[in-house]
């Protein structure tokens, strides 16, 4: 069964360093989502792509976070510089076309620890 792939699974970094996370959605899925899940809370959407275009990045801290999906397939989320409060699980999800009837499939996540 096709799955959403993410790497790395774990990342430890020091504050002020740059980090990057990668996501490969299920083949054929046009819509890709990046979520942040702080320990003890539910995921919160950071950015949503439809193919290579950003649909919603209203919750993305744009002074330090950036996301791209250049060819409309895989995606990279970058944080520069990382802050202590960025420690969280970063989840990627994809859906077929972003319609409200489409199920979102989640990857295993990248757990970021900022020291």
């Amino acid at each position: 069964e096709a799955e959403v792939a993410q790497s790395p699974r774990y990342k430890i970094t020091e504050k002020s360093q740059a980090v990057a996370f990668w996501c490969d959605p299920i083949s054929g899925h046009a819509t890709l989502y990046w979520y942040r899940q702080i320990l003890g809370q539910g995921p919160e959407l950071l950015v949503q792509f439809q193919d290579e275009s950003v649909v919603d990045d209203s919750q993305l801290p744009k002074d330090r976070f950036s996301a791209e999906r250049l060819k409309g397939v895989d995606s990279t989320l970058k944080i520069q510089p990382a802050e202590l409060g960025d420690s969280a699980m970063y989840l990627c999800a994809s859906s077929l076309a972003g319609r409200d009837t489409d199920t979102q499939y989640f990857g295993p996540g990248t757990r970021l620890t900022v020291l």
């Binding site: 959403v4 809370q41 539910g42 949503q48 439809q50 409200d100 199920t103 979102q104 989640f106 295993p108």
Partner: protein
Amino acid sequence: AQTVTQSQPEMSVQEAETVTLSCTYDTSESNYYLFWYKQPPSRQMILVIRQEAYKQQNATENRFSVNFQKAAKSFSLKISDSQLGDTAMYFCAFMTSGRDDKIIFGKGTRLHILP
């Protein structure tokens, strides 16, 4: 703004028992979707069950069923004949009907199934 509230941070039940997880939400929308997602330890989040608000019939998926009370804005999940593999975080989530609308998650309920 839409909100999702899960009032039970943690629950424990014996294997084979029935357990009900509570969820309430707040919205002024009339068309929307409700979801229960399961996040097992160190594994990806998966969709357990979804309910369209316009449907009066409660959704059922094998041992999982919901009690959807639209007027009360309540959406509880019942797990029958609970199994050890049901141990996980369970998130209630809400999404308005329409393309590109984002999912709003609750804070989750940690469910332990005891042998």
